[in-house]
Structure formats: C-alpha cells, structure tokens
C-alpha cells in the first residue's frame, strides 16, 4: 500500500497504482485521453499532467506510480496552463466538424475543451488534411483528421484481441491511424475500438447518424447473446423516433464488470439486438386455424392454455421452455408445472451448427440463462418431450421461444410431433417457423422491454432492466404464466419480476440469500450468495472516457 496526498486529501492505494487511479480514489478526476485502465500505458496524450511536490515540473500521472508520502496536486496554475496548451496542441489540426460528427455530445475533445481549454486559437496555418469516412471493417469507420493519435485502438488490437490490425503510420503531423494496406479491421471484438476512441475518429457504422446521443436514454442490462452475460447498457431512442425510422434500440454499449467482461463486449453481442425492433415481432395473441391466422384477445389466448390445463391430465401436457427466458419466467413456469404435476418439460434444443467460442468472452452456448433453466428444472433435452408427442402421449405442447424447425432436430420429427398433439402454443418475441406452425401464438416482450435476471455459465446472477416498453401487446413470459394461473383461480402473487425473484430465492436452494438489492448493477455469484453480501462489487476502477459515456 502507498499513502499519498492528492489535492490535500490523504488516500491509501495498493502498491503499483498509477496516479490517475490514485487521484480517482481520492475523488479527483485527472483528465486524460490515451490512458485506459484495460490497456498498457502509452503516455502519449500528455494531458494527465499533475504537479508532484519536489519534482521540478508537471509529470504525467498515468505513468507515475503512487509512492508513500507523495504530495500530488492536480490544480496548480502551471498544471492548468499545461493542460490548456496540450489541448491547443491536440486541436491544431482537428477539423471543426462537430455539427456533423457523430461523436458530438460524448466527445472528450468537446468536454475537455470546455473544462480545460477555452483558449483563443492561435493557428493561422492551414490544417493538415487526412482521409475522412474510411471504412476500416464491417463495423468501424475512420476519420483520420479527428484522430488525436492516443493509440488506444492500436493497443486494443495488440493487447486484447492480439490481432494487430491497426497502426500509426507516417510521422509528425502526417501521422495517422490505419490498417496495413489491403487488410480489414474484422475481428470478433472490433467495435470496442469505437467505445474507447475518446474522439470522433472511430465511429460505429451501424449507429452513426441514427440519432444524436443526447436524445438517448439508457438502461443497465445484460447481453442476451451467450452464456457469458456481459454487462451492457441499452441505449434507446424514445425522444426522436422519426430520426431512426422507428428503430428504438439505438445501440448496445459494454458496461464495466470486473468479474465478467471488464470493459468489452463482442461484436456479435453488440449488434445482436436487431430482433427487438424487427418486422417479424409478434405483437398480438393470435390463433391459427387451417392456413390463416387471426388476432385474438389475450383473454382468448390465455383461455386456450388454461382450458388445456384444466381439461387434460398432466401426463398429456408438455412444455419446452427456453434458456433465453429469465430466471423469473422460468420460476413462474416451474410453479405452474408443479401445481399441475406436469413432468414433460425440457429447455434444451440442440443447435444445427455449434456456436463459436473463444478463450475470451464468447461462449458456444448462445443462451443467456442455460444454468438458470437447469436449476429451475428445464435442463432436459427437448427431444424427450417431442418423442412423447410423436408417441401421441401429449395433447398439448407449449413451446417458448425456440425455433424447433431451425434446430438440429429433424424437421420431420418436429412436424410429426406437432401434428400428433391437439394444441401447440408458441410464446416468443419474434415469429419463426415454429410459431408459424403453432395453433396459438402468445407474444412475449423482448429482453430489453422488461426486467429480470439471468444466471451466467459461471453461476453469476445478474439483473437486466427495462429499457423500452413492450411492442404491441407483448408481455413478459412470467406475466403470461401469471395470467394463465389467474384464469385457473391460482395466484402467482407477483406484479413485478422482483416479487418472483423473492419467491425463487425461497424455493430454489441455489439462489438462497440473493435479492435484487444484493445483485446490484454487477450481479452476484450463486455460491457466494450465502456468504457476505457484496452489493456494488466490481465498481469500475475508472474509465470515464471509455464506453458508454
């Protein structure tokens, strides 16, 4: 440990802590561009100058290790003057294109100019011009004129993905970020460079020009793209729907979680939200008879399920739940099945192609809640339920989310199973081949439209919050189950997901001790739940300037 003083405040930090982090621990923000806690130290931007007592001149904080007895001051006159001059240097060749720059509003040149710059420009020479709007790969576009050469993107590709696509070429004021000629920035994590770019040099091809960032609302969430459960923010455009032709989810951004994804997410997860606003969203309950589908009321749709539950013996009822459902949904469904003694239940559907996986974040299991489903008794293979259906032992089958006809299951077997049961009900957010074959379709809210928890592959339970309202009449799965129970005279005693989570914690031993407040923003592992609570664990050590500003 090192005990030092920052701006008159004493603070103790672990040995090896740099002065940016030490100052942060003392509640002092040292402005910086090139420093990123997840990357090596470059010392390139020179903005993080601080005064250290007994040193002759200001020193960069990022590359100075806190030492016992150090007296650091971040607000001396000469530090302020130095910052101002460095800002002036950074902006010498920077184009004044903020009005058409997608970074405007979350740009650290803008922010720091207002905080630490505010000088009268002295540049009389023409600015150096560089390539603009150069696509680097499928997701990232470069404006070399806006770049301040902090090298964060270069270091990301060297140190995090070890793919080394980017470099700083030429020199002096001709230096520019670029790719080896003929190569692309096309790794599985490429768009993280957009998050860590402090300026408008690297922008997101999918997001840019959709909507100004100051119109976005954000919600803390969990990526539903695989079993890792990366922490994310969902950025939604509610206030200017006409700017993006009704697309509500504008983008996903990684949210720091030391235990799960650090500062990063993969591109597949980042761009995997398209289904939320897709034209194939299921908006109203519907009944299909013969070849045609008719919209019906929720009452009618619920009655179809409740009627079957009331009428049929439990051994003739089958359910295929989904590991994409939240713990709360699965628990509600488990309650319903237990109340009725239904044992034909599964959750796992084999995929046609095995999911890709790496040793970083990406998991082969593309479901966010496989472990939760297993703990709730939905770990079984859907094939057993379909077998029972094909053997004409089932009269009612409720499928959640899965597209059985796009899975590794034989299409013939699935269709045969469907034909063999009287009633097939599909509940999901989007239409698929399976929903097209169901007799009843009950629309589910997408993950961004409701709240709940997922249990990741490591047994970490994490909350995701509501970012937008459900489209059409869609409901969270637990609400659908609740309505079915209500119409059967049973009660779920839950008006919010949290109520169900409390019941789940009581009922499922693995979850014992957990609660929404305990999960906080970064979740809690199942095993550790019994031990000391640790709300707020894994708060970011820093990074104002990375990601989701």
């Amino acid at each position: 440990m090192a005990k030092l003083t920052v701006n008159g405040k004493e603070v103790e930090v672990p040995a090896g802590t740099n002065l940016i982090e030490a100052a942060r621990a003392a509640g002092v923000e040292v402005p910086h561009y090139c420093y990123h806690p997840g990357l090596s130290i470059a010392g390139q931007c020179r903005l993080c100058m601080v005064d250290i007592e007994k040193t002759p001149r200001p020193t960069i904080a990022c590359n100075t290790v806190a030492a016992d007895g150090m007296v650091v001051n971040t607000e001396t006159d000469r530090v302020r003057e130095t910052r101002k001059s460095i800002m002036e240097f950074h902006l010498i060749n920077h184009p004044l294109d903020c009005p058409v720059c997608d970074q405007a509003g979350e740009c650290w040149l803008q922010i720091y100019y207002m905080k630490h710059g505010l000088y009268d420009p002295r540049m009389k020479d023409e600015k150096v011009h560089k390539p603009k709007a150069v696509p680097l790969g499928p997701h990232v576009i470069l404006d070399a004129e806006r770049c301040i050469l902090c090298s964060r993107c270069v270091r990301f590709c060297d140190e995090i993905t070890a793919t080394g696509e980017l470099g700083i070429f030429e020199r002096g004021d001709h230096s520019e970020i670029g790719l080896f000629p003929g190569r692309e920035l096309d790794n599985k994590y490429s768009a993280n460079v957009v998050d860590i770019c402090p300026v408008g040099a690297l922008t997101d091809r999918d997001f840019r020009f959709q909507v100004r960032v100051w119109y976005l609302d954000t919600a803390k969430s969990i990526c539903p793209g695989c079993a890792r459960g990366c922490n994310i923010e969902v950025h939604v455009n509610r206030r200017r729907p006409h700017h993006a032709e009704g697309r509500r989810v504008a983008r996903l951004k990684p949210r720091f979680n030391a235990e799960v994804n650090k500062w990063w997410i993969c591109d597949a997860g980042r761009y995997g939200f398209g289904f939320v606003d897709a034209p194939d969203r299921l908006l109203t309950p519907a009944q299909r008879e013969g070849g045609s589908s008719t919209d019906v009321t929720w009452e009618l749709g619920i009655a179809a399920v409740a009627g079957a539950l009331r009428r049929l013996p439990p051994e003739q009822l089958g359910v295929i739940a989904s590991p994409k459902m939240a713990n709360e949904d699965l628990f509600a469904l488990r309650r319903l099945l237990d109340l009725h003694g239904i044992s034909q239940a599964a959750g796992r559907v084999p995929t046609r192609v095995p999911g890709d996986e790496d040793d970083f974040l990406i998991r082969a299991d593309k479901n966010p809640n496989s472990l939760g489903a297993e703990l709730m008794g939905f770990g079984g293979d859907a094939r057993t339920v379909l077998e029972a259906a094909r053997a004409r032992r089932l009269k009612f089958l409720w499928v959640f989310g899965h597209d059985l006809l796009a899975s590794a299951l034989s299409e013939r077997d699935v269709l045969e199973a469907f034909r063999a049961v009287e009633t097939v009900v599909f509940t999901g957010s989007n239409a698929n081949w399976t929903s097209a074959h169901a007799h009843w379709v009950l629309p589910a809210a997408a993950w961004a439209e409701r709240e709940g928890t997922y249990t990741n592959f490591e047994g970490r339970v994490q909350r995701f919050r509501t970012a937008i309202e459900p489209l059409g009449q869609a409901l969270a799965e637990w609400e659908i189950v609740g309505r079915v129970m209500a119409s059967l005279g049973q009660t779920l005693s839950a008006t919010r997901a949290e109520h169900l989570f409390r019941q789940l914690v009581e009922a499922v031993p693995a979850f014992a001790g957990l609660s929404y407040p305990l999960l906080g923003d970064t979740g809690s592992p199942l095993a550790a739940a019994g031990a000391a609570g640790r709300p707020g664990a894994g708060a970011p050590p820093s990074e104002a300037t990375s990601s989701s500003c």
Partner: protein, 180 residues
C-alpha cells in the same frame, strides 16, 4: 570524412544490390536468415533488430514493398501493421523502387545558407524531376534531406553511400556524368 573518401559502409547501395526483377520472390537466403537470428539475439527484445533487418531487406529486394513488410513481420512474429509503422516512420526505407543511384541533397540550415537552393535548382533542371522523384530512365532518385552532419563542407549531398562536399553546379555536372 573527406571529400570523395571511399565509404566505410560495407553495404552496397540499395540500387546495386537490389534485384532488378520486381517479381522476385521475397525470401532471404539461409545465410541471411542466420544473420536475422543473430541480430534478433543481440537486442534485449528481438524487435530491436527490426531496423537492421529492414535495411537488409532493402538491400536484398531493392526496396520495402508491402510484400517485404509482411515477410519481415513474419520473421519477427509481428503484425504487418507494426512493420508498416516503422517503414513509414523512417525516411531511409524506400517504399517504391528507387532509381539506380540516389542523390540526396541536404537542405538544412548550413547547406541552405551556403547555397543549397541553387544546387537543388540545378539538379532539378539537369534531371528534369522534382525532389522525391526518379528520372524516367530510372538512373537517379533525387531527394532532399535534413542535416547529414557535414556542415563544415556545405553545401553537400550524399550520392549513394558517398558524401559529396562543397558542391557547385560544375561539380554536380561531373558527378552526374559519373553515374552510369
């Protein structure tokens, strides 16, 4: 270094050692690969040998093409982008095939005061190309460079691996005649 002294460098000029056929396969000989390994072992970090190996590559292949950058990157287990960073940073690596001879005139302060602008103008007129260009017959690549540390004999130029000092237009003419 005195006027006209033979170069102490054991490097042959890039243009003389360079292979004339641009389509030549980019590959070092076994002996050269041994030298690469030796150079890599003398630096604390093998990457330190990148500059001398790039010079070797330039002598062998005539210039540093993108293909050469990729080849050298593989020898160092570096990404080609990082070799490209180094090659684009330094001025002594040729990214395009230079002429058979390189005439590099200093245009830094001492030489400028001692008449470099006249020398440069004379060369432009004689060669018919601007600094940074190569004559159409590929005989001469004409460059202007920063101080080469021979201010006492300004204005000066480096012609291939030799310093040519106390230049005058007449001396330039004689020099050019001597370049095959």
């Amino acid at each position: 270094m005195t006027d006209g002294a033979p170069s102490t460098s054991n490097r042959t000029p890039a243009v003389q050692a360079g292979l004339s056929d641009p389509a030549t396969i980019v590959s070092f000989s076994e002996a050269q690969l041994g030298e690469v390994r030796r150079l890599q072992s003398v630096y604390p970090d093998a990457r330190g040998a990148l500059l001398p190996v790039l010079h070797m590559a330039q002598e062998t292949f005539g210039y540093i093409s993108l293909e050469v950058e990729e080849y050298v990157a593989a020898l160092f287990d570096l990404s080609p982008a990082h070799v490209h960073e180094v090659v684009t940073f330094y001025t002594l690596y040729f990214r395009e095939r230079p002429g058979r001879h390189i005439v590099a005139v200093c245009h830094n302060l001492s030489c400028h005061l001692a008449g470099a602008p006249g020398i440069i103008a004379h060369l432009k007129q004689k060669l018919g190309v601007d600094p940074g260009e190569t004559t159409a017959d590929r005989r001469v690549t004409f460059l202007t460079v920063e101080c080469l540390c021979a201010c006492e004999a300004a204005p000066m130029a480096q012609v291939d691996d030799r310093y040519e000092l106390n230049l005058t237009p007449e001396k330039i003419d004689r020099l050019l005649e001597g370049l095959p």
